[in-house]
């Protein structure tokens, strides 16, 4: 296996406040890696730091062996990383189609057609809502659109920040099913942030636990699921 993404002792600050403390993490080609942690642990900050906004204050981020720590967000996006960010952030006053076109900004038209077919297959809802304004979609539909938009760039690394947040169990099942299907059938590498630790760890090959900006545990999905401290902190009483 080759390493697609590596973070080496990355620290990020918001003004004087440190949100990430020397975080090291790797994502291998073809893997699903999940990052779990409580609210405010720094998961979204980590996702955004990979994209350079906010940029890491110290440490190194490499993608396909190339140092991307100091690149602008739009340059990073053009290297084959795509993110469905926290809060979905679909463009509310654009149609579903235009949101998907925005996702395909960095690819050729032939790829657009191909990715569109893939997205329609994964989320038939997206096809039904193709001409509707994104701001008028339901929460679940917006989440599907955010993931679909990320997929339109034909990414090598798909990054998803809490795709299950606020969604009905059935929709969550559909979204996790789509992630698994993409990984199995196309070998897509996925970095998945979740509070929903149980399902995330079942889906992922490996996982990291983030507590107050520090990685405290790591291991395979099954290993982490079996750990008593994980069960106590993230699973018991949960799903």
């Amino acid at each position: 296996m080759t390493t697609l993404l590596a973070l080496d002792r990355v620290s990020t600050f918001y003004g004087p406040v440190q949100a990430l403390r020397e975080v090291s993490l790797t994502v291998e080609q073809g893997e699903i890696v999940t990052l779990i942690g409580a609210n405010g642990a720094g998961k979204s900050t980590l996702m955004m730091t990979i994209f350079g906004t906010p940029a890491a204050k110290s440490g190194r981020i490499t993608y396909q062996g190339r140092d991307i720590t100091r690149l602008a967000p739009f340059e990073i996006a053009r290297l084959g990383l795509a993110q469905s960010p926290e809060g979905r952030r679909v463009f509310p006053r654009m149609s579903v189609e235009e949101n998907l076109l925005m996702g395909a900004q960095v690819v050729k038209y032939a790829d657009y057609e191909k990715q569109l077919a893939l997205v329609f297959e994964l989320f038939p809802r997206i096809e039904e809502r193709f001409n509707q304004r994104a701001g008028t979609l339901s929460g679940g539909e917006q989440q599907m659109l955010a993931i679909a938009r990320a997929l339109m760039s034909k990414p090598k690394l798909l990054m998803l920040d809490e795709p299950s947040l606020g969604l009905a169990p059935l929709v969550i099942k559909q979204i996790f099913g789509a992630i698994r299907q993409l990984n199995r059938e196309t070998g897509l590498t996925v970095l998945l942030v979740e509070q929903n630790a149980n399902q995330a760890l079942r889906l992922a090959h490996r996982g990291y636990v983030l507590v107050n900006g520090v990685i405290t545990l790591q291991g395979s999905g099954a290993e982490l699921l079996a750990k008593p401290e994980i069960r106590a902190a993230y699973l018991e009483g949960g799903h």
Binding site: F51, T53, A72, P73, F74, A77, R78, A82, Q83, P85, G87, R89, F91, P92, R93, M94, E98, L101, M102, G103, Q105, V106, G135, T136, L137, S138, G139, Q142, R149, S153
Partner: protein
């Protein structure tokens, strides 16, 4: 009746010019949330480039060719000015406190006015009417309603410019990028949009529209000076607010309304108070519709 029709024609012609300028204000506001106070002066520079080109070409080329050259060169010059203004006065202040770019904008406006005053002189400059003639629509007891070729040309050119502009904004990747940056700049960057480049292009396009407006103003009134940008700028800015700042159709609608209010007020009340009428109506509209006529008030799920 005839008199009202004449005011309607005059008001719509003037309103078209205001609308073109207003689009530039509203675009820049939409994308970076600031009022570009130097925009009226870019319009003024467009008028000056127009008069320089037309004066130089008089007798050398035919009138249509001269006009084409005037429009194109004004657009090129104003595009360069728009680009430079954004680079020099606004970009370095992005992320600074909110008032900083506003102060910088006012400084830029004063700078451009003085620069034109020094380089072109403080006196009014005039050109003859290049599109003379027209036809009589109506003759009511000796009151003749005129529709001039000039007015028709201004309306037609504005409609063409607005059509091309609308196509760019709604149908092309550049227009989509502009709207994306306007709606969520950070997300646009995460998708590979170079937001700085998009903002630069927005300034250039807005400045080209102001250039077209400037040349048409010159053709319509025949007289310009270094100060025309101030008045027209304030009127167009008012038009953008009246229509709903950030809304492109709103800017055009606002421009037309202000042109009409001015024309009718001057025609039926007194010319001296036409600005009072414009601002009173703005105040009244904003009291009942705080986001302007076509401003945003749609429901969005989060």
């Amino acid at each position: 009746m005839a008199y009202a029709l004449q005011q309607l024609i005059n008001g719509l012609t003037l309103g078209m010019i205001y609308g073109l300028i207003a689009v530039g204000y509203t675009m820049v506001y939409g994308i970076i949330g600031m009022i570009n106070f130097a925009h009226g002066d870019v319009f003024m520079i467009g008028a000056f480039v127009g008069i320089i080109v037309l004066t130089a070409l008089t007798g050398i080329t035919s009138v249509p060719l001269g006009l084409l050259a005037a429009f194109l060169l004004a657009a090129v010059f104003c595009g360069v000015y728009g680009f430079a203004i954004e680079r020099v006065a606004y970009r370095p202040l992005r992320g600074s406190f909110r008032l900083a770019p506003l102060i910088s904008a006012i400084g830029m406006s004063i700078l451009l006015e003085n620069y034109v005053q020094v380089s072109q002189g403080a006196l009014e400059r005039a050109i003859p009417n290049l599109i003379p003639g027209g036809f009589t629509l109506m003759d009511e007891n000796g009151f003749v309603v005129q529709l001039s070729w000039m007015q028709i040309s201004i309306v037609v050119v504005t409609l063409i410019v607005l059509a091309v502009f609308t196509y760019i904004v709604t149908k092309t990747p550049l227009g989509r990028a502009m709207r994306a940056v306007e709606q969520d700049a950070k997300m646009a960057a995460l998708l590979g949009i170079d937001t700085n480049r998009t903002i630069t292009l927005t300034f250039i396009i807005g400045s080209c529209l102001a250039a077209f407006a400037g040349v048409m103003f010159l053709l319509y009134y025949g007289v310009i000076d270094f100060y025309i940008g101030f008045n027209a700028g304030i009127k167009a800015f008012t038009a953008a607010v009246l229509g709903g700042i950030g809304s492109l159709p709103g800017a055009v609608l606002g421009g037309l309304l202000i042109g009409l209010i001015e024309a009718f007020w001057s025609g039926y009340a007194t010319v001296a108070y036409k600005d009072v009428a414009v601002y009173s109506i703005l105040a009244i509209v904003l009291m009942f519709m705080p986001s302007g006529l076509l401003g945003r008030h749609e429901v969005e799920k989060v």
